[in-house]
Structures are given as C-alpha cells and as structure tokens.
Symmetry: D2
Subunit: 328 residues, 4 copies
C-alpha cells in the first residue's frame, strides 16, 4: 500500500523501513531534512510539507503520524484535518492519551475522515523483531489497513503457539501475528497505555529483587548471613528454565554483562505519560493498582534528593522524641 | 513504692523524675555517673552497680529496666536473673521485641521471678504529659505495680471522655487514665510496637500531603494551576476543627512555625525496630499492611542515593528504547 | 452579614445555623421544602427559588453554595451567573474539584462577579466545634467575607497555641482561629482536597494497625505468641499521652466502645473524589504518594469480591506449578 | 552419578526422572509407596527407609532431599545426620529458609558432612524444560555434583545468548546452561527466595494491568470511554514483539485461551514462604520493596472478606461525617 509517514524519529523511521522492506510505498515527511534524506536513500518518496505529502498520495490517502504525544501530534492532526478529504485515514501511531483519540475521532468522523489509533510497542527493536500493535478504530478502516499492519507485525515467528488457543472465530487470528483490533477509537492507545503500566510494574519487580540481592553484601549483616552475589550470573541463570524469564530480564542480563555495577547510570529514572495515565484510568474504574502506582512513584522519587516530606518526618521525630537526624 | 531504675537516658530519667514527684522512692543506676548524680540531686538514692541496687531494695524487689533494646537490655536482664530472688519483679520498659519478652518471661518464671513488659509512649514529653503505657505480664504482678503505673500515666487530664464508654467491668478502667494491662508477657511490647507502626503510617500520610502542597508551586504546572501555599499556616489551620487534627500535626505546626522550609533537616530519616517488626507480625498473621510498609520503605529510601534498582531501570529503558537517562 | 445559603443538607444547614447564632442573616434555599422549613423555624428567611433568593439579598449579594460537587453545583453556578450582578460574590463551600474553581473564577471575573472557593472540614461536628476552612479567591473578596468566616471557624478555643508561632505579619493570624486565605481561586479546595487525601492515609494507618492487633489472636500462631487483645481499651489508652493521639483515634475509640466487633459494618468502604484527585495532583507534580494511594486503593478493593486480577494470579500459579487454589 | 532422592512429590519425581534420562542412578524413597513404585517402573532402585537408602548408596553418598520446607525437611536432615558419614553430601533442593541452611551447614560441617542448598525453579515444567538452579555450598562439593546439575539444567537450548556476555573467567559459564554456584551455604536458597519475590511482583503487575483492561467495560464510565476488550487476544498479542513478553504472560495467554473469564478460580490466592522471607530480608538490609510487598499483601487480602480494618474505616467515616456505609 501507499502511505505517508509523518515523523521520522527512531520509531517512525523504523516503521517506514519495515514497510518498505515489505513492499509498501512510503512518502516520508519530517521537520528534520536529514531524517527525510536518510529514508529517501532507502527508497522513500520525500515530501517537503504535509501539503506536499497529501498531494503525492493517491486516494483514499493514508497518513501515519508518528510524533511525540501532545502538542506535536495535536497540531499535525489539526493541519491534516484541513488537507484531508472524506475517506482519507489518519493513523496516530504515537503514544497519545486515549481520550484525545476519542475526541479526535469524533471530529474526523464529522468530516468523513477515518481515525485509527495504533499503540505500538517494540522500541528500537521493532525493525528487526516487528512491532506489536493494538489498534483502535472502526472495523472497516482497520481491515482496509491490514496489509500495513501485517507487514509491521512480528508474525508467528519462532515463538511457540499458545496451547488451547483455537481459531473458532471468537478470537482474532491477527493476535498470534502480533497485532489486534482492540475496539473503537481510543482503545488501541488504551491497551498500549496499560501495556506500559504493566511494563513499569515488571521493571520495578526486577529492580527491587536485584536490590535485595545486592543489599545482602552489607557489612551490617551477620557475617554468615552476608553473600557477595554475582548479579550478572544470576540474571543470566534466570533466563533459562525459571518462572521469571522475560524479555526485560534478557535486557537486564545484557546490561549487567556489559557493566556489572551499572555505574554509568545515575539512578534518576524518567517516566513518560502512560504510567500516570494508567493510574488515572484505574482510579476512574475503582481498580486497586498498588504495584503499578508504586512503580511510578519510585521513579518520581528517584529524581529528587531530600523531599520536603522526609524533612517533615525528621522534624516530627525531633518534636516527639528529641531524635536528631544525622545531617546529609 | 520503691523501685530501681536501670538506665537513666532521656526516657529513664524522666520516668524516675515523674515517679519521685509522685512520692515513689527511686534507686537510680546507670553506667554514666553524671546521669546518676543528676537524679540524686532530685532525690534519688544512687546505686553503683546492679548488685548495689539489688541490696538497697526491699523485697519483693522491683527493677525497671529502661535501656536500648537488644544487647544492653538482654545482658542486664541476664545479670538481674542472677541477683533476683523469687517474688522479685523485672520490668522491661524499653522497646524490646515482644518475642524476646515471651522467652525471658519463661526463664524468669522457672526461677519464680516475675517479668513485666511495658510499652511506653510519650517521648520526651512524658515527664509533663505522662506516659502512655501498655503492659504485658501476669495479672497479679501488674496489679501489684499499679501505684507505679498510675503515677506515670497521664490520667484523665483535660482530654474529653469517650462517649459511650461504660465501666461495666468488660473494659479496663485504667485505659482512661492512659495505661492498660494488655495481656500475657510480650503483649505490652506487642501493642507498643503496633503503636509505632501506626505512628510511621500517620507521619508518612502527613509527609506526603505536605509534599503535594509544596509541589503545587512547581513551575512545570500551568500558571493558573500553580499555588504558592503557606505550609506553616495550613498546618496551623488544620489543628482546629479539621478531621486530621492530631498531636503529630501539632508538632508539625510547631516545627514549621520555627522554620518554614525545614532546611535544617537533610531528609534522611532513621527508623527503629518497631516499624520493621510490625510488618513481620503482619506477615505472620497474613494481614495486608500496604500503608505501614510503605511508610517504612520510604524511610529506607530516604537514606540512599541512586539505588542499584533505579540504575537497573535506566539500563532496561536504554535496552528496549534507547532512552538515555540524564546523568546525575 | 446577610447571605443566601443554597443547599441545606447536613453541612449547609449547620453552616446556616452557626451563622444565625453568630448574628448573621440567612436566606435559605433548597429543593427540599422541609429543609427550608426547618431553617425558617430557627430564624432564616426563606426563598422559593434562586431568583427569589437573589431578590431578597441586598447588594453586593453573597451566595454560599453548599451542594454536592459536580452537576448540582455546576448547574447552580450557571444559574447564578445569570442572576448575579457585578460585585456579587459566589462562594462554593462544597467539595468541588479545584480546576473547576479556576475555570469558574475566570468566567465570573469576566462578568465582574467574585468567586470564592471554601474547603470546609469538620463534618457533622462543625455546628458545635466550628468549621475548619481553607479559602481561595481574591484578597478583597476574602477580606470582605471575613465576618462570616470568623463566625463559622472554631476560634482559638481550648486548643493550646503552637509554640514558636509569632504574629509578625508573615503568617496569617486567621490560621489560629481555624481559617485561612490559602491563595487564588481554586487554592481553597486544593488544600481541602489534600486534607482529605491525608485523612485517607491516617485512617488507613489506624485500620492496618488494628488489623495487626486483631490478627494476633489467630490460632495459626504459636500459642504463646497469640494475644487476645481488647481493642476498645487499646484505642482508649492511646488517646492519652501517646504519639498517635488524634481526633480520628477519638472517633475510633468511641466506635469501639459502642460495638467491640464493629460487626454492624460490612467492610465495604466508599470514597469521595478527593482521594482520587489528590493522587492525580501528586502525579502532575511528580510527587511520590505511596501511602495516600494505598489508602485509596484499599477502599476500592474493599468493595469487590474476587477480582479478575486475583483469578489471573491463581491461573498463573496453576500454569507453572500445578497449584490448585482452594475454591471459594 | 548415583544419588538418593528423598521425597517423590511433583518436583522430586521429575528431578529423579530427568536424572535417570541423563544416565544417573537413582535410589528413590518416599513415605508414599505408590510414588516409589512409579519411579521404580521407570528404572529407579527403591529404598524402604532412609537407612535402606544409605546402605544402597556407595560412598561418598549423595542425598537429595526434596520435601516441603519446615518440619518435613528438618526431621529428615536430622535423621540423615545420624546415618551419614564424613564426606557424604546432603542436598536440600526444596524451598527452605536460607537461615536454616546456614545453621544446618554448620552442624554438618562439624561432622565432616557436606551441605548444599539448591534453589530449584521450573515448576511442573522442569522435566521437559530443565530446572533452573541456584546453588549454595562449598566450591568442592558443588563442583563434585556438577554432572547432576548439568543434567537437570535446561542447557543453552534455543534461548539466544546474551549479547556482550563473555566467558573470561569472571563469570560462571554454568549460568548460561541454567545453573550457578551462588556462594556459601544458604545463598542458593536466598537467590531462589528473591526469585520468588520477583515472581510475585511480576504476577501482580500483570494482574493489575488486566484488571484495568477489564474495568474499562464498567457501565459507570462515559459510553465513549468504555471498551469491551478481548483479554484473551490482548494477552496473545503481547507475546510477540512487546516489551512485556515473558513466560508468565505465555501462561496467562494459555489460561485465558482456555477460559476467557477465569471463572473457575475463586480469586483466593495462596502464598508460600518465599514472598514473606524476601520482605524480611529486604527489611534487614533496609531496602525499599514497595512492589514486592504490595504483591504479597494483595494475596493476603484476596483471602479475607470484610477486614476489621475496613470496618474501622466505615466506623470513622460514620463518626466524623455521618456517612452510612451500604451494608454487604
């Protein structure tokens, strides 16, 4: 199929590449000319503006927007709403908030334009491994785009099939290939958001476990209860046959193999919006998310030194007990 | 009554003082001679050793041990077990682990010695306000010691009586005076331990609330959603008529009145054993303690910079997304 | 002063009463005629509609809205915007979301109407104890309303003054009387929201502590480590001299005095919006709120039986270990 | 090699089988005669008692104990201490508490007996997939047993090797085959314990995520923000190309493929000791484990209806606000 990719960052460029390798025709646009040039060398048609991209596409036109969530995506969609004609399809493949999708889909719908939101996981590995996608939008538009999704997705690959899974029509056969039509507009990003929420929780479980392993070498412990464990080997051994094997563990093992102490990292951990939005969604639904929230808060905490709250604790301790906290 | 106070630190000295003011006769012993001298000036009889204290007491002898939990208390009790005679009473008024009380009470019992554990709250304010005490031990020994406890306790004071509370014999009338016979040996310290567990939780609730108030001035927020709140006034206003008024809030208000920024504190917060033991007890009982544990862990976290776990998070993020965490 | 009270529920009626007792003149309106009649007997002027209330007030008119947050408050403010004239003051004394205040204050401002948000704590006890109030709005309007706030507030009362607090102008002298001008529109409700967030955390700390006390009677524990504690007495004893004394503990002691087992409660606990909004605010500010969130999630969990997540845990356990979970 | 397997439950029998398939000679003992008979049919030599097993082994004798932690393991080790001679090796392959290993290793050492603790992961899948093992004990004994461990372990298999991992002697080459010598006695079980702690955290992260997905169909949400998601397909799609792919997700996908609603499970989730011990170890080390503890507490909570703590919350809410909680 033919489609424009708007936004050629790490993710957008790889999506364009994987699609071109699969025989699709790409019109590439980005504010960064070098990003466009790089894709052009690999076979993409270039566009010098959204308008130009719109002109170069045959109808119904497909625009795949791959930009940071928030203002960049929002303003691009606004611009495309002016350029697009009834029947055209706007795909937001970034990490937009699902309620923004719901709002935009309504605006598009009023103009006869189709809106599809794609939650895309796979990070920088997607070019090679394929992208895992959860898709929101009307059935007809999602089905129309199927050749694109099939190319981007990992496919069955070498991963064993789920025992007991049957294709009797109640399930979506695309799921086994790594993409799925989740539901109406917004649902694609909603599922991706929860994916990231889970990701935070999984990561924090490993982080805490490795902290407990590392803490065992503390000289405050009794000598025979103190172990100086090789974390690199432990991460490796858990990759085979253990209950906690996972891709995140594979990545941890690789990081530890490269640098046993991880001392190139400061320990200040960023978070993008999805962890936050997952907690909000859970609160709207009255669902308890102790682990997902703790994972997010731990990241917040990692970026601060000496919170005001901690100082207040010391102040209270001094107040009732005369405890003097050791200054920093 | 006549009793020996072993350990004249902040708490022990004030207990001795409040007892002397109530007409009791104190034999004072400590490894620090100045601590003994200071009490002697206020009317205490001095002892130069545990042996000396034992000699100066009439029978049945009462030893109130007020030492740090662990080795200091343990070795003193060992020594007193040799000095004491059947009918004598050992009181551990410190913060011992309740399972240590259970073990010691059995050893004492085999020798005809009585063992009483007293969980003592009130901090440095106890001399003035009285000490809140929860007492474990055999009924007879606890009843025998009642004059001591009554003197130490706050009494009814100016605190309003609980509506609906009736003295029909099912409740312990001492509770209204600020002390209570909780149950068999160990139960006094068990209840005090849970008290401290709750204390951690309450403190952390205030700490987080004030952090949210303070965080509202962040210049990352939209200008009209940003407030520069006077935390000193807010702590003060909540002292009157609000649902969250408490003694800990009183102390917070006083600390903030003295220093609005609390910048004399580093934010590294210590913990004593009780918070930890409360979680252990909860786990033995299969009771969920999300808040009490989070309060303890927050203190652990306050004393570290850049945990290994946080570094591992960054390493994974780099692994799957090529995210480069900003170095410290 | 003269003001209309719109909404005569538990809180609104008591506010009207306390104001009348303080010599203020009340125009009372509610959709429930009986609520109006009841206030009329106590001296209020009645209104049969918002329009009628507006007519009966002299200018500048003061409307105190005391309705459930959300639609009831929103529609009333919409109606009053039509009835009000420049210089009139709308007070939202309910539990509105602070961002709604910010939005409404802008709309009011464009019409020359003043908007004041009052976070009101004190529950059903406010009539007697006074209401603790945190107020958002422009200084001139807050100052104009001072006689109203002073009457409603608890005043200095019998609560001891904060040591170290000085009235040197840097602090708000109103704070000691139980009300404070927190800042611009929205800040009054923001502070009240955080108050409620803290309230959830405090309550959960007590709840967990009492659960640990109660769990100690479990017959799964070793016999000498098992205590059958009198929770009623323990709540009572902690009211005097302990570090964890508070108004919430007073209420707990009263509830336990009335019913030791609390078996009239199902254990399904509601939550209003403030706990949720506090977590949202914290996430906007990147502030870690482990305790406040855990307190909220525990309430969510209390209202469900057998979550899907828990079933999934059992399914995984069966998957890797053949563990068969005991059916309900 | 020749060794006795003591305890032929699910795990012990499969270990025996995998060893026999690898050419090792097994003396099988269990209190259940049918378990012994079943192994005998597959080639094991049978023993009618520990004494008999000891007699049938050539020296140095190797006893692999695979029994429930606690009393069964403890009493068997006591019995073997009497039967064993210097140079014999006792292996505890169960889930013992690591401090028990440390204690036992000392007792064994005094008698010239070698003690090795093996943390064994892999559940019922180990026969097929191989067992992931972390081993504690003296180097000489662990090296001597290497043929056994190599047979039991998964080996390199089809799992891709960790990029950057080099065998320059600083790492243990066995880790890539799925087993590792972790350190001195106790360290094998310690690492396995943390493995299970992490396992709880991972499982809970998925459980919460799926709860958020499921909760999105709630009719309390606005209609266009409500999604009726196919959880079976979503679990499946995340298996390919997503960041959160893992073996636990594979198991979840299989469980959901078999039963979309998981309604055969009650939602009451058991826990074995390791989750609890991991938290204890973390507290000893002052390491914050918000996620691992929350995962454990959620299981505790899943097994209770209407906690006392929740009732106390309702009682307080009634106390300050007159809120009447809806009875069950």
């Amino acid at each position: 199929m033919q489609l424009a990719i708007i936004g050629l960052g790490r993710m957008g460029a790889n999506i364009a590449r994987r699609l071109m390798r699969g025989g699709h025709q790409i019109i590439a646009f980005d504010h960064n000319q070098r990003a466009i040039d790089s894709l052009a060398e690999e076979g993409a048609t270039t566009a010098i503006s959204l308008q130009d991209a719109a002109t170069k596409l045959s109808r119904p036109r497909i625009f795949w927007i791959m930009l940071p969530a928030g203002a960049p995506t929002e303003s691009t969609i606004d611009a495309l709403l002016d350029l697009a004609s009834p029947g055209d399809i706007l795909i937001d493949g970034g990490n937009s908030f699902y309620k923004d999708d719901i709002r935009r889909a309504k605006i598009c719908s009023a103009k006869g334009i189709l809106y599809v939101d794609v939650g895309t996981s796979g990070g920088i590995w997607g070019l090679e491994r394929g992208f895992c996608m959860t898709i929101g939008g009307k059935r007809a538009s999602v089905d129309h785009l199927d050749p694109i999704f099939e190319t981007l997705a990992p496919g069955l690959g070498t991963i064993s099939r789920t025992p007991g899974r049957i294709d009797n029509g109640s399930e979506d056969s695309r799921a086994e290939k790594g993409y799925v039509h989740a539901g109406p507009p917004g649902s694609g990003h909603f599922v991706k958001m929860v994916h990231n929420g889970i990701e935070y929780g999984l990561m924090q479980a490993y982080a805490e476990g490795f902290d407990v392993l590392k803490g065992r070498s503390s000289d405050k412990l009794a000598e025979d209860e103190r172990f100086d464990l090789n974390l690199t080997d432990i991460a490796e051994v858990w990759r085979r046959g253990s209950v906690i094997s996972s891709w995140l563990l594979d990545l941890s093992a690789a990081a530890l193999a490269e640098n046993h102490t991880l001392d190139t990292y400061s320990g200040r951990v960023a978070d993008s919006g999805e962890g936050h939005w997952t907690i909000e969604a859970a609160m709207e639904e009255c669902v308890a998310v102790h682990v997902l929230s703790a994972a997010l808060f731990t990241r917040f905490r990692s970026r601060v030194e000496g919170t005001f709250g901690d100082k207040l604790l010391s102040a209270m301790r001094f107040g009732f007990g005369g405890h003097v906290e050791i200054p920093q």
